[in-house]
Structures are given as structure tokens and as C-alpha cells.
């Protein structure tokens, strides 16, 4: 199927997030269910209208066939169901698969959800140890390489090639936290300063703990249907203008570059489908597992030139009142991160901002949003362009 055929054919009609932070009284499945209910309640649809479900995977509750497990838990009997394992890219990839299923008649209403109880469902040591599995089992793990160390090597190379500074990286965390402070459901809402970031506990030099994403209990969900059916629902539809994927490697040792990744190509495909360019984007919700990542994505997605993201962040351009607001909900650095759900909150936030009415968090111009999810070590990329009018 040509990706062109998906343009403006489907809409996100409901979004929901679970309680976020430390939620010890809920399971991972429960967090998914709470988010799904909140998303569905916006639309006026009934659970029996949901005939498709896409989810990702869980490390704290490692069920086999998680998609089927969630359908069972939610009492759904769908005609379309899958568990995607594209790491952090999964929530965006779900939208592409859901769109293809809807356009080809395999399903009418698809629930996309992800989430885990990563903060309270396991110990901190277990959380860190489980994530070791992202490294190559035979040629990276034997060296005690951690996920932060992979992103630290990427960070150091960015600093080396472009002169990106420690302060610029820290400013990414500070600006993002400032956005989370304005979010009623964010995990971390205490303002931080540059000094806080620079003096926070070292994890994998040059990254400190405040350069790293959170470990949260959190679930997120969105409901997708055809643009046609969306007209009859009670919620404001947000249309899919463009979407594209690109997958270049899995393990960092196999990446061709530490500064140039696959977001250029996933972004190009999304822009081409939408018939839009970076200059048409009003704001961006980018993947930010570590401070350097949204900066690389800004460069790859054409929001600035190579090596200029640090200066943009430093100048305040990515603030809610800036030229290109980035991660207006607080991102994974400050709003929430729980397994595959991290990037899903960027999609939810894009929908909320496009609809408008987010109070002190609302961006001024909110017609078109750029959303990017990445998985692995900048390995799997999916870019989407969403908007509140068909265009």
C-alpha cells in the first residue's frame, strides 16, 4: 500500500493517560486499561465498538502475546490485534499500522496503548538490569555497557563534532521541566536549574541523572478511526497528514554514524506524504530519553541545521512561548517514561495542543504538529505529522 493513501484518511479521536508517577496500587495492565477508558470516554464510543488493538510489550509484567492479554483484560474480541516491539518507536508505528488496517477495512476503531508499572513493579536495580538487554548480548553487554553509556557516547560525539556544550544539554532538561511544571499529571513538577542538572549524580559521563528520562508508572492510549467516522463522534478529530518509518540498525556498534541517524528519512517520508515541510510545523513533540536526543531529532527533522540545536535550546526557541516549542508536556525527562509508553505521551500531547485549551501550557499557534518516536539506540524511527484541519 502506498503511504500516500493514508493522508487525511484517519483521525485520532480520543487520548488518555493513566495516573502517572508512583502508582503502586495499579498493575501495568490496569494502567493501560485506565488510559484506554479515559481515551474512549472522550469519543462517545462504547468498548464494543473497538475492533482493533495495538500495543507493545512489557518488561515488568512479561506476558507472552501482550496484545491478546490486553484484549482479554479489557473484554475485547478484535478482528485486528498485534504486539509491536519497536522499542520507543512503537507508539508511533502503531498509528501507521492502525491507519493501514482502517483504510484497508480490517478494523474500524483501533485502540493503541502502552504502559508499565516500571517505578513500583520492580526495584530500581531490576529496572536498570532489565534494560541491559537493549545492548548486544555477545558484543556489548560483556563490557558493562548501559543504555545511558550508549547515549553518552552519542552525546560526546555531538559535543566533539558540533561544539554542543554541557550547558546547552542541561538547558534541554531545564526547559522541559519548566513545561512539566504546567502539566497537571506530570511525574516531576519541581523546577530545576542548569546547576541542578550539571551537579546532579553522574550516571554515564557526560550524562547525569537529570539528563536521563524518568522511570515511571504510566499508561497511555489513543483511539483511531476513519476520518469519515470521526465526523459522527463527540470529540474533535485530529487528522493524520503524514507518517514515515526508517530502521537502520539495532545496536550502537552497528550504527553507521553517532551523529546522523534515521530520523532524516522517516521525517522526509512524513513530510512528503503531508505535502508539508519543517517550516509548516507549529510545535514538536520529540523523543527525549536523554537530553541530546531531541536535539539530534530537531536537526534531523529539519527544525534547524546540523549542530545548531544546542544554540536554539539555549536561546529559548523550544520554550512554550518560543519559535518552535518542543515537548510541551515535559517529555520523558519530566512528564513520564514507562517502557514503550514514553513516546505515546508525545502523541497525546500533540493531540491536546492541536485541540487547544491547555491553559498555561497551550502553544499560541496549534494547527500542525510534528511528533517523533525512536526506539533502541536511535535505531528505529517513526515521524508523524498531525493537524486539526484536513489539509
Amino acid at each position: 500500500m502506498s503511504e500516500m493513501s493514508l493522508r487525511n484518511k484517519i483521525a485520532i479521536v480520543g487520548v488518555g493517560e493513566s495516573d502517572i508517577g508512583k502508582v503502586p496500587h495499579m498493575t501495568g495492565l490496569g494502567l493501560n486499561a485506565q488510559a484506554a477508558k479515559r481515551a474512549l470516554d472522550q469519543t462517545g464510543l462504547k468498548p464494543s465498538d473497538v475492533d482493533g488493538l495495538l500495543t507493545a510489550y512489557s518488561m515488568t509484567e512479561p506476558y507472552f502475546m501482550l496484545g491478546s492479554v490486553l484484549c482479554e483484560y479489557l473484554g475485547l474480541k478484535p478482528t485486528f490485534n498485534a504486539s509491536l516491539v519497536s522499542g520507543g518507536a512503537s507508539p508511533a508505528v502503531m498509528l501507521k499500522h492502525a491507519a493501514e488496517a482502517i483504510v484497508s477495512g480490517q478494523a474500524e476503531v483501533v485502540l493503541c496503548c502502552a504502559g508499565e508499572n516500571r517505578a513500583t513493579g520492580q526495584s530500581r536495580d531490576q529496572a536498570v538490569a532489565a534494560l541491559v538487554a537493549v545492548g548486544h548480548p555477545y558484543f556489548e553487554q560483556p563490557y558493562g555497557a548501559s543504555i545511558p553509556s550508549f547515549y553518552a557516547m552519542i552525546t560526546r560525539r555531538h559535543m566533539h563534532e558540533y561544539g554542543t556544550t554541557r550547558e546547552q544539554l542541561a538547558q534541554m532538561a531545564v526547559t522541559t521541566r519548566d513545561h512539566a511544571v504546567r502539566h497537571p499529571n506530570a511525574h516531576m513538577t519541581k523546577p530545576i536549574t542548569l546547576d541542578d542538572v550539571i551537579n546532579s549524580k553522574p550516571i554515564a559521563d557526560p550524562l547525569n541523572i537529570l539528563d536521563c528520562c524518568l522511570i515511571s508508572d504510566a499508561g497511555g492510549a489513543y483511539i483511531v478511526t476513519s476520518a469519515e467516522r470521526a465526523k459522527d463522534l463527540q470529540s474533535d478529530p485530529i487528522y493524520l497528514h503524514g507518517i514515515g518509518e526508517y530502521h537502520t540498525h539495532e545496536h550502537l556498534m552497528c550504527a553507521e554514524s553517532l551523529t546522523e541517524f534515521g530520523a532524516v528519512e522517516s521525517g522526509r517520508r512524513a513530510y512528503d506524504m503531508a505535502g508539508l515541510g519543517p517550516e509548516d510545523m507549529d510545535f514538536a513533540e520529540l523523543y527525549d530519553c536523554f537530553t541530546v536526543v531531541p536535539m539530534i531529532e530537531m536537526e534531523e527533522l529539519g527544525l534547524c541545521a546540523r549542530g545548531e540545536a544546542g544554540a536554539l535550546v539555549e536561546a529559548g526557541d523550544t520554550r512554550i512561548d518560543g519559535r518552535m516549542p518542543v515537548n510541551t508536556h515535559g517529555g520523558m525527562l519530566s512528564h513520564a517514561h514507562a517502557g514503550a509508553a514514553g513516546g505515546l505521551f508525545g502523541i497525546i500531547e500533540a493531540v491536546r495542543q492541536l485541540r487547544g485549551g491547555e491553559g498555561e501550557r497551550q502553544v499560541a499557534k496549534h494547527d500542525v504538529a510534528l511528533v517523533h518516536n525512536e526506539g533502541g539506540i536511535l535505531s528505529s524511527h517513526c515521524t508523524m505529522i498531525l493537524g486539526r484541519e484536513m489539509r
Binding site: V132, Y138, F139, A145, I147, H160, A204, M253, C254, L258
Partner: protein, 134 residues
């Protein structure tokens, strides 16, 4: 680095690699059809999908492409080693691999530094490692 570090897991793709390491050699896979030289052992050439592969010794020289100093070890086996260096090395032959930089001056490492192959004993196995070149 201590002997509690995990021993490498040998499988069909990597048997020759780890056997060579035991003898103090770092080997690379070369495609007989297109000549592509690769670090990560695998059944087919990733460029042309040829199954005709051969092994050649790397000479053991490399440069540091990037590195991190790990302060939070991901596994208990590495907890006593912090701070330690994880690095990506560009071998003189071209391929890139991950390693630790070991030795008393390891924390002085910088991008572009020359490094030299050495080996760390782990039980019956030996794991390729690198030191800063004198």
C-alpha cells in the same frame, strides 16, 4: 577488571571469534564475494548476502571514536569497577567495535586517541579489550 565479569556467550555465529580470542587474536569476518569487512559475526554478508565468508586477523590498532565513563553499573558484576570506560573503537582495518578502555590511565581517554588490543581473562575465555597506546 575482575574475574566476576560475565564470560562471553559462544554461539554458531561467533564460535571462531571467541576461539581466536582465547588464542590472543582479534578476528574479523570478510566476504569472499564483495570483500566487505565486518566486526559482528553473522551467517551472511550484510552488503551482498553472500554466505562465503572468511576470517582475518585484525592487527590490534584502533582509535577512539567515542566513549563514556560509566558511574552507574548496569549489572552487579561491574559495580566494583566504577568509574570505568566503555568506548567505540575504529579498528585500523575499518570496522567499529565496542570495548572497555582498561589500564591505569584509562580515565584520561579522549576521542581520537590511539588504542592497542589486549585481552582480559574471564574463566576459560578471553575477551578482547583495549589500552591507550603509549
Amino acid at each position: 577488571m575482575n574475574d566476576a565479569h560475565p564470560e562471553p556467550i559462544v554461539n554458531a555465529d561467533s564460535e571462531v571469534y571467541w576461539s581466536a580470542a582465547k588464542e590472543g587474536r582479534l578476528v574479523l569476518q570478510k566476504c569472499r564475494d564483495c570483500g566487505h569487512l565486518d566486526f559482528m559475526p553473522r551467517h551472511v554478508c550484510p552488503k551482498c548476502w553472500s554466505e562465503a565468508k572468511e576470517w582475518q586477523d585484525a592487527d590490534g590498532a584502533g582509535t577512539v571514536h567515542s566513549f563514556s565513563i560509566v558511574h552507574r553499573a548496569p549489572l552487579p558484576a561491574f559495580r566494583d569497577d566504577v568509574p570505568y570506560v566503555v568506548a567505540l573503537i575504529d579498528l585500523a582495518e575499518g570496522p567499529r567495535m565496542m570495548t572497555n578502555i582498561i589500564g591505569d590511565n584509562a580515565l584520561d581517554v579522549a576521542i581520537g586517541d590511539a588504542v592497542t588490543l589486549c585481552f582480559e581473562d574471564r574463566g576459560e575465555a578471553r575477551v578482547p579489550q583495549f589500552r591507550l597506546t603509549d
